[in-house]
Each structure stands twice: as structure tokens, then as C-alpha cells.
Symmetry: C2
Subunit: 456 residues, 2 copies
């Protein structure tokens, strides 16, 4: 019996229209990456498990898709794990490869492996799918694309500036105005923990602070109390919640709060450098905003932290993020390589453009003209014209069968092809074509160059 | 201890230059696919195992990469297979998903699953990676891209013609002259078996005949004898080996050989239709050739069979292939859907273009100009210029650190960046830039619009 076909949960088929729209976003991002001097690399879809495991925490390890060894994999299976039916400990003996979980770890692996072929600083971009065994839900998939740009090999703050410009440039090209690029600095967060005397609770502190948007000031304080942060510390924090105004005004406020912390002052300097540079070179589509609650992958970032919010009239989580990490490649044995990078969230950007109607109408590149098939001789006459039109970059097709006229017209209609050409014996005698505008119904008799002229 | 990084055997990292060259081929193929009216779809990297298993024969099943179920996979594992350590029978109980092995089966699945959203005939293209647990060897990888175009829903021979034109068009755009598009027809092969009275040995017969290029006439006959094909039959075959001359001449020869076979005559008619159409619409870069020994995936194809050979001066296997299959979607329950499709072999086309030096020099899109960094003030002045140049589509970069001049120049040199800009206090005072041609060493003093003019 035939199978009823389906695809695994959390994965997607993309229709021609969806592929065209996704490619529009990919191409826009890629064009800007290139314009900014980033170079493409690609890495394999699966890596050795040892490259990926242990890099994303226990939760990450669990969410990595493992590939079963080929052939008689049980021959090398760990006996003890087998007899105890311990799936977790058995895995490493029956699976040596795993699907890429993100693009950052493979990039770090690439840099270390190819360090002798690379000129540093190395600006690379990478647009490839990643896979996560996450529970699928709205907007969360088990296979999705990441679009990353990173630089390794320099600590220059001009890179922080450049990534702000890169975000702005991409959203400008996508016609997406009103995006907010939020920035923070890990050193500022460390400074807060220092100043309130809770350095050992830095993670708990920032994780709670990061939720301000969602649970409000009281919620954040409640969570901090639960994590054992003292009342005294909470009192000292208060000015953080009161930070208001422009980027420059918030900076002034911060200077007061972080007066006692050298680390914090360093973070402020870095933020100020970026702010001043952007002031000198104003953005086009986006707004740069200081958000001292922003933490993201804190364990990872050591300097700047970015997050991009969609325009305020669209309800959507962050559509991009990134930051600086001072030891990207240390895990693979190459020390002192500072890196900074950003990522674009393709699926969410897609939803935002869809909601705001920002996809250009021309994005789908549909067939422009369908030649109606009246039989073998007429079809050859039509195919010759189709060939000439294609040479002039007009997407033209011949209906393959000499089916009933109504069927062919209906096909053109359903596929939203804007023009049809009818050419029977009479047209052939005169070396002409009858062009029909499918919308207006208007018909005109043209020779091949007239046809090309209108359809181009 | 840090791990020494490596990638799984049979997989590849692609450097910026390689990605650029691969994208050049992808883009060329994609542009022609679009021009011919094919529409893109994409399917998930992994499918339900039931979708893939059993579709490629036992050998194929073995070469499909299986994904281990997430979580406590042993809980649902088959007890009997576990205790008997039977890897093969255990697999289906601990793995429900598998990586795509080709693009054809997922396409068939897509067509059946989405049949109500599709207008037939449906012309689709698909450019995505596939994975095979094959033994890696020169030119054979465990992850590689396929570039496929197929039509389903019509038996019209105009499609056979169109695919010949499509091949020609792509190779013409790639500047690859002298490609040979070899064509055959399954019905001609069936006719041979009929005429010599060995219908039940059709597969053995065609598999042997397909090797004529490699093992010669005597080798083919030897293999046929070993497979139990009679001497009488071998005598009747002789005229096949003697077929010579042009496409039209070979057709005439075939007519005699296949006189007794209705099926064979039908095959000849189909070939003749294609040949005449191409005669009316001559090819640009390729040559159409009749090769009656061509069999390829015989179990699969029911009509036309294509294979593309690289130009004669390049030693390389086939760089493309395809054919018509009358029941593509039957395995998923949708009957009577004739399909025809072709594929481009990216990796081999890459090697051919490399060997013949056919990649355009502009393909890598390297940075055009590097601004030397003399310190914070100068860098801001440079960044403003970089920003203006980028807006004019010039790929420009600032060296991120104010390192020693020699180091920065060396970086430009190693990255083969053709221009550098030096702008210190003097230049800033005059609102000028010193542009240095890295090849000639020539320097000139320009304002921003002069800079843009030269670099554009």
C-alpha cells in the first residue's frame, strides 16, 4: 500500500513563493555582508561529535541531533551501557557524528584548523542551516537557517561600530524602518555586580535583569531575592531601573552608578566610543539604543552585546543578536583570538516583512508569458519564439501538450501568468503572434521583436 | 586539553574562494532554470525514514545516514534485536529520521503531499545538499549538492527537447564549449532485448552494453556470455556495435535493427522528434549525440535517457544526467504522473571549469580598497569615506587597528587587495585621500568623489 507522505515535525517544505521570498532576504543580507568586506565560508552539515558536544551546556548536548554510525554499529557499542539500557552513555559508542547546532562553533573549528591559510583579522560570513531537537512550536523549528557575520583577530572597537552599520544597512535595504539596535556591554553588567557586592551572583543577577521587559521591575527584584541577592544590593541597584532618556543621557547616569568599578568604567568607555562614532555617521533605517538589561549569552560574551528588535508596531521577539567574545577559539587550542559577530534571524525577519507587506512584488519571478500549444507545427513555431524570448531574459514557456484551449488558459490563469500568446496557422503565415493580456483581456498582433519589446 | 580539530571523512570545508566559485556555478544554473520557467522548492534535510527506505535498493538503504532518536531512545528499542545485537533490525526502532539521499524521492513526496496546491504540469528546480555514507574517494563525497530540474504531469516530448536546450544554455553561460549531450531511449534498449529474444535479460544486457566505452566490444560480449545471453543473440546484436555517423545516420541504422519491435520503433520516433526539433533550433555550446549504449538508472527511466560528457580534452566522468520516468509518484500513492528531469554534477563541473581556467576573474569579489589605520581621528575620517564608498557599491574596509604601517600593507598584499588609502593629518586638512595602487606602487591624491570614480 502506498504511504501517506509527511515530513518530520519541526521541519518544513518551502513552496516556490516561499523559496523566492527567503532568497530575497538571503540575497539582501549576503550583498551587504560582501559590501562590508566579509568573505563566505561553508562547513559540513555534520561535524565529529567531539567538536560539538560540551560546547552548548547540558541542554545543548541533549538538543544536538546525533547520526547513527553506519554498518554494524552495535559491534563497537559499549557493553555496560547496553546492558544497563543507558541511552545517554551508549550514544558516544554508536554515534560519531552530529548535525551542526549553530555556526559559531564550526567557525571556531574552521579558524583553528585553517589558521595557516587565513590572514587575520578574518571577516567571514556564513549562511547555512542548523538543526536542534527542540520541541517545535510557533516560529521554532528543528531545521532553520542562520546568517552570521564575524571578525576574529582584532579587539578594535571600530568593529563594534561596523556591525551596527551592517545591521542598519541590511534593514535599510529590506525597507524595514524603525528597527531598534539595542546594545550593552558585559563589562557594565560585571560592574553592576561588583558595585552591589554580588560578583559571585553575576549570572543570576543578569538573567533576572534581562527579564525586565517581560516581568517588570518588581518581578526582576522578586527573582533576585529568590536567588539570594541581598536587600542592600537591591537598594543599590535601584538607579539602574531609573536610567532614562537618550543614549548619551543613559551613559551619564551609568557613570554615576558604576563610579566604583574599573571594569564598569571600561564598559562605559566602549559604549561611548560606539555612540560617538554612530553620531558622526548617522544610521538610515535603525535606531541605536542603550539597554543595560540586555544579557543574552552572557557566559559567552565579554564585551559588546547586541540585540535587534523589530519595529514597535510588530509583535515579534528579537530579529538578530550578537556580541564580542574574547576567546572564541580557545576551546580548539588557539588562544587570544578575540572575535565579534552578529546574526540575523531569517524566519522572524520573514514574518515581519510579510506582516508589513514589504516583500517586493517582483520577488517571485513568475513566468511572463505562456505560449498556447495548438499542435506539433504550431508548437515548433512557438518554441522558436520562446527560445528567442529566453535569450532576451524573458521567462517564457510553451504549454507542453496541445490540450483544449480552455484548459491551457485556465493553467495560465491559475499560475498567474500575465500574458499568453496564441499563434495558429494564420499567425504563422504572417510571421506574427497574438499576445493576450490575461488581466485586461486585450489582444494585439505582433512580430517577434514587438513581442520581446512588450514582455521585457 | 584542547582538541585537534578535524572534520568527518568525506566532508569538506569551503574557503571563501571555493564558495565564490561554487556560487558562480549555482547562480548560473539557477538563472537558466528560472529563465526556462522552473520554480524553486526546498525540502527538509531529513525525512521520515519510511519516506526514504526501500526506494534506492538494499545498497541505497545501507548508504542512507540515519539520525538517532533524541532522548532515551533505548526505551523503545526492539528487545530481540538488542539481545541478538542485530544492528540492521535494531535501526528502525531507535531511528525514525534519515538524511536526504537524493532530491528525486523528496520531490515525489512533495508533489504527492502538496498535490492540491500545485498546477500541473509542475516545473520545479531544487538545489540542495544530499548525504551518502559511501566510501569517500577522489571526487566522491559524503555530503554534496545536487542541482535538479524536473517536470511532472505531462508526457509531451517538447520537454525532452527543452531539457536538451537547458543543458546547452547552462554550459553556454559557463563558457564550456564542446560538451556532448548523449541521449538514448529506454524503449530502444527494450527493443534490442526483444529483437534478440532475450527480453528477460534486459537488465543484464543493458548493464553490459553500458560498459562499451570502458571495456570495448569484446569485453561487452564476454560479459553478456557470462550472463547467459546466447551466441545467436550476440550475432543479432552485432549491428548495434556497427552503428556509426551522425545522429540521423544512426537513426536510420536503428530502424533496420529494430524493425521487428513495436516498442523499439516507438523509441526511435521519440528520438527522431527530439533530433528534428534541435535541428530546427541549433544548440550553442553543446552537441547532441545518440548513444544507444547509454542505460544509467534503467529500472527508473521509461523513455529518454540523458548523460552529459565533458569536452573531450578533459578527463572526467559524466557531468550531468537524467531521463523520463513514467511513474515518479506512484510510490506515494499518486498514479499516472509522468516525470522527466535532469541533474547537474556541481563538483565535477567545478573541476572542469578549474582545469580549463573558465572561472571569471571577478568571481571572488574581493575587497577593492583597504584604508590604513593611523589612529582614532584618522580612522573616523577613513570610516566616513568607507561608508560613502560602500554606498556606491565599492567593497571597502578600514584596517581595524592602528598597527604598524608595514603590517597593514602586508595584510593588504596577502589578501590581494588592489588599492590602499593613506590619509593622515595632512590629507584630513585638505579633505583628500592618498590612493595607492598596490601593483604599480603609483600614488595619487584625490577627494572622495575622485576616489569613488577610480574604485567603482
Amino acid at each position: 500500500m502506498a504511504q501517506k507522505p509527511s515530513i518530520p515535525k519541526g521541519t518544513r517544505d518551502f513552496s516556490p513563493e516561499e523559496v523566492a521570498k527567503r532568497n530575497y532576504i538571503f540575497n539582501t543580507i549576503q550583498t551587504e555582508f560582501k559590501r562590508f568586506g566579509f568573505q563566505p565560508i561553508e562547513t559540513p552539515s555534520f561535524e565529529n561529535s567531539s567538536t560539538l558536544m560540551g560546547k552548548y551546556g547540558d541542554e545543548g548536548d541533549r538538543l544536538i541531533f546525533k547520526i547513527l554510525n553506519s554498518g554494524d554499529f552495535l559491534r563497537k557499542a559499549d557493553e555496560k551501557s547496553l546492558s544497563e539500557k543507558d541511552s545517554l552513555s551508549l550514544t558516544s559508542s554508536i554515534s560519531e557524528k552530529a548535525l551542526r547546532y549553530d555556526l559559531t562553533v564550526p567557525f571556531a573549528r574552521y579558524v583553528v584548523q585553517h589558521q595557516n591559510e587565513i590572514e587575520f583579522p578574518f571577516k567571514r560570513y556564513q549562511i547555512q542551516p542548523v538543526w536542534r531537537a527542540d520541541r517545535p512550536q510557533k516560529g521554532r523549528f528543528r531545521e532553520f537557517f542562520q546568517c552570521d557575520a564575524d571578525v576574529v583577530g582584532s579587539k578594535s572597537l571600530w568593529q563594534e561600530v561596523e556591525f551596527v552599520q551592517l545591521y542598519d544597512s541590511v534593514f535599510n535595504k529590506l525597507g524595514l524602518d524603525g528597527v531598534s539596535i539595542k546594545i550593552n556591554n558585559r563589562k557594565v553588567l560585571s560592574g553592576f555586580a561588583e558595585v552591589i557586592g554580588e560578583q559571585d551572583k553575576l549570572i543570576d543577577f543578569t538573567v533576572a535583569l534581562d527579564k525586565l521587559d517581560k516581568i517588570g521591575e518588581e518581578g526582576v527584584k522578586k527573582e533576585m531575592r529568590e536567588k539570594g541577592i541581598s536587600e542592600e544590593a537591591l537598594n543599590k541597584i535601584q538607579p539602574i531601573f531609573n536610567l532614562k532618556g537618550s543614549f548619551a543621557e543613559k551613559i551619564e547616569g551609568l557613570k554615576g552608578i558604576l563610579e566604583g568599578s574599573e571594569n564598569g568604567q571600561k564598559g562605559i568607555e566602549e559604549l561611548q566610543f560606539i555612540q560617538k562614532a554612530i553620531e558622526e555617521m548617522p544610521l538610515s533605517a535603525a535606531r541605536l539604543d542603550l539597554d543595560v538589561t540586555l544579557a543574552r549569552g552572557l557566559n559567552y560574551y565579554t564585551g559588546a552585546i547586541y540585540e535587534v528588535a523589530a519595529p514597535e508596531n510588530v509583535k515579534m521577539g528579537s530579529i538578530g543578536g550578537g556580541g564580542r567574545y574574547d576567546d572564541l577559539t580557545g576551546i580548539f587550542g588557539l588562544k587570544d583570538m578575540s572575535g565579534i559577530g552578529i546574526s540575523f534571524g531569517l524566519d522572524r525577519i520573514y514574518l515581519v516583512l510579510e506582516e508589513l507587506g514589504l516583500f517586493p512584488e517582483t520577488v517571485t519571478e513568475n513566468t511572463k508569458v505562456l505560449f498556447i500549444n495548438f499542435g506539433e507545427k504550431e508548437a515548433l513555431y512557438a518554441m522558436k519564439a520562446v527560445r528567442e524570448l529566453r535569450a532576451k531574459n524573458v521567462i517564457a514557456e510553451l504549454y507542453p501538450d496541445s490540450a483544449k484551449m480552455g484548459k491551457q488558459m485556465k493553467y495560465a490563469d491559475k499560475r498567474q501568468i500575465p500574458y499568453t500568446v496564441l499563434a495558429g496557422e494564420e499567425e504563422m503565415d504572417q510571421q506574427k503572434f497574438t499576445l493576450k493580456n490575461m488581466k485586461s483581456g486585450e489582444q494585439s498582433s505582433l512580430d517577434i521583436s514587438g513581442l520581446a519589446e512588450i514582455l521585457k
